[in-house]
């Protein structure tokens, strides 16, 4: 079952992560600006770590993260793979799903993607999140899984 091809996420998920990276770097840019103006250190010095951070968060990481993520939806289980450095490969059988969420932040809404969250009764991995799905796919998957949960319970 580990051989099956993983479905890639929506490419706009990368864009969302890039924007998030941009937002995350902003405070550091401001901090660096203040340091430069205050002339505590040479004016160019704070720029270097901020530049590295920006390249990492905006340029490199989103692509890497996008590439490392994926999912596979089988008849009775969902497999979620993620992690650049810390790899995690989780499988949730639909029969163990307690309830389901589809969530969208403002950024995600702007790009038409959503997060699907599966909640189980286990203490570890009580909720498994699958981000970066096109909103229609996410809803369709939710319905699928819900149907499945319902059917198995009947």
């Amino acid at each position: 079952m580990d051989a099956e091809p993983l479905t890639q996420l929506d490419p706009s998920y990368t864009t969302v992560m890039r924007i998030e990276g941009l937002l995350a770097t902003l405070p550091f840019v401001i901090g660096a600006g203040v340091l430069s103006i205050a002339e505590v250190v040479p004016a160019w010095a704070p720029g270097i770590p901020v530049l590295i951070l920006a390249v990492l968060l905006i340029g490199v990481l989103p692509m890497k993260r996008y590439n490392s993520r994926g999912y596979h939806m089988a008849d009775d289980r969902l497999r979620v793979v993620k992690g650049v450095m810390f790899h995690a490969d989780t499988v949730v059988p639909f029969s163990r799903v307690q309830h389901l969420d589809v969530e969208q932040g403002p950024l995600e809404r702007a790009f038409g993607i959503a997060r699907l969250i599966l909640h189980t009764a286990g203490t570890h991995n009580a909720s498994v999140t699958l981000p970066g799905l096109p909103i229609d796919d996410a809803k369709a998957m939710r319905e699928d899984i819900r149907q499945h949960v319902k059917r198995e319970s009947l």
């Binding site: 995690a88 989780t90 949730v92 163990r96 189980t120 203490t123 570890h124 991995n125 198995e152 319970s153």
Partner: protein, 533 residues
């Protein structure tokens, strides 16, 4: 709340509001009083020593004490007055609070169990504490403070019957229920599975070496020293400043070798005897009249000398078994069995079912819970050796670096090398040796296995622990790898289990995949809602 609330009816009427027993107030009062006795004694003792202060205080002492009790009783009474509960048709409700009211409702199909607990004072007054366990992380438990013993027993029976009813309704909605377990065998109520007599308790206590008494003493001194007529820490400080130890040293050097050895032996013996004695005492208090019974409702455990507890664990809510042992008791064949249960919450609830037993006694209990203990027929597998090698290397490096740092610090502060410093090197070498030995041993003995219905794990160096989980009662499976693990080709296998954690560290990736596939196939074939709850 009006005054039309009937005081304790004969049988518990479903849908009626009730108050808890008024004796609750007395229990509360005694508790406050008890917590005041020690400080009061200290104050009296302290002032008695100091000239004629006692004479000044004495006339007021009793009125003051009474006043404090009254101040404490008023809220207790108000709290009692403002607390009421109702056993409804579909839920248990509890309303409480003097000024800010809280109303909690717990639906029956969420109640995992009802447990009764008796602390010392309530026990003397014939009261029990009723707890409705919901398995919602401990905090959300519905706790009904103190009702009379009879009332508690009735409450439990009523709620249990109602819970069973909702369960049955749910089961009736699933005509094709093909649970992972056979239907509970009908047993005569109250079959004793395991009990500990005084002899067994004593043996158990002997193995429960505990030095906690020293910590308690030091803590008590710290807490209450302001009440003592002399300052303990001042005394210790003076002892060091005035070179009291010099006197002591002279005294010791005045003795001959035999006396010194005897002295050291005496010290060790005292510590060991105190440790064993407090272990025995602790065990006796906690596990007095330990009885585990198999009733129609599940496992019923009763124990306790001062605080009596009575817990029922429904059989089908047992998620996994843990068989543990200790460094020394293991050599004598003693093991302990505990359950991981859905109603465990934050791990506060203690589900020891046979804390000190021979394997032959544990086996029938495990069977009763629907598990089989490993009998040697299963195919045990070892984790990846890389994992243990890496961990050992990291630990050894850490110890070495710390050792080097300490050595450098000592060398620079002493200006010249002294032979004493090489003790540091020796300690480091010894620690590294131990770590290496442990790593090797763990690799040799840590193992896991899969049988048709269960996942088994055996972990630990000196006191190995065996965990047995039911395959169909797991909820999700995750294979996780950090950078190092990815490079060295091992991973951590996490199972989502209700009420506890179940994971395997350092499995070879191939092995983990195989385990996961097998477990997932058995999980997916049984729906969670069809598992008997």
């Amino acid at each position: 709340m009006n005054s039309g609330i009937p005081e304790e009816a004969d049988a518990i009427e479903v849908g009626e509001w009730h108050r808890v027993s008024p004796l609750t107030i007395a229990a509360q009062g005694v508790k406050t009083l008890a917590s005041m006795i020690v400080p009061a004694a200290f104050i009296l003792f302290g002032s008695a020593l100091q000239s004629d202060k006692l004479a000044t205080i004495a006339p007021y002492a009793i009125p003051i004490l009474l006043g404090i009790i009254a101040i404490n009783l008023l809220p207790a009474w108000l709290g009692w007055y403002r607390l009421r509960y109702r056993i409804g048709t579909s839920d248990v409700r509890l309303e409480q609070g003097i000024i800010s009211r809280s109303a909690r409702s717990v639906p029956y199909d969420r109640i995992q169990d009802v447990s009764l607990e008796q602390k010392l004072v309530p026990r003397l007054l014939g009261l029990v504490e009723v707890k409705f366990e919901t398995g919602a992380g401990g905090k959300e438990e519905l706790k009904l403070f103190l009702v009379t013993e009879k009332e508690g027993e009735r409450l439990r029976e009523t709620v249990r019957a109602l819970v069973e009813e909702t369960d049955e309704e749910a089961a009736a909605a699933l005509p094709t229920a093909e649970g992972g377990e056979a239907p509970e065998p009908a047993l005569a109520p109250g079959k004793v599975l395991f009990a500990m007599g005084q002899g067994r308790l004593f043996t158990y206590g002997m193995f429960s070496f505990s030095l906690v008494i020293f910590a308690v003493l030091i803590g008590a001194v710290q807490q209450l020293e302001f009440l003592l007529p002399f300052d303990v820490f001042d005394y210790a400080e003076r002892y060091i400043r005035d070179e009291g130890y010099f006197e002591a040293g002279k005294y010791v050097s005045g003795m001959d070798t035999a006396a010194r050895i005897l002295g050291v032996l005496y010290l060790f013996l005292t510590v060991i005897v105190v440790g064993i004695a407090s272990g025995v005492a602790k065990t006796f208090v906690r596990d007095w009249e330990f009885r585990l019974e198999r009733t129609a409702k599940g496992f019923r455990r009763r124990r306790g000398l001062l605080t009596k507890t009575d817990v029922v664990m429904p059989v089908h809510r047992v998620q996994a078994l843990v068989v543990s042992t200790g460094l020394i008791r293991r050599r004598f064949g003693w093991h302990g069995l505990s359950f991981i249960s859905l109603a465990q919450g934050s791990g506060k609830a203690n589900h020891d079912v046979a804390p000190f037993a021979k394997m032959a006694e544990i086996e029938p209990i495990a069977q009763e819970a629907g598990f089989t203990l490993p009998d040697g027929a299963e195919e045990w597998r070892r984790p990846s050796p890389n994992y243990y090698f890496d961990r050992t290397l990291i630990a050894a490096l850490f110890v070495t670096i710390v050792g080097i740092l300490v050595f450098t610090a000592a060398a620079t502060s002493a200006d010249q090398l002294e032979p004493g410093m090489f003790i540091i090197a020796g300690v480091v070498a010894l620690a590294v040796g131990l770590i290496a030995l442990r790593g090797y041993y763990l690799w040799r003995y840590d193992r896991h296995a899969l049988d048709p219905a269960q996942v088994l794990s055996r972990r630990g160096w000196l006191a190995p622990q065996v965990k047995i989980a039911n395959r169909v009662k797991l909820h999700s499976v995750e294979i996780a790898q950090g950078p190092l693990a990815k490079w060295r080709g091992y991973c951590r296998l996490n199972f989502g289990m209700a009420g506890g954690s179940f994971h395997f560290d350092g499995l070879a990736v191939e092995d983990a995949r195989k385990l996961r596939t097998a477990v997932l196939d058995s999980i997916a074939s049984v729906d969670f809602a069809q598992l008997p709850r």
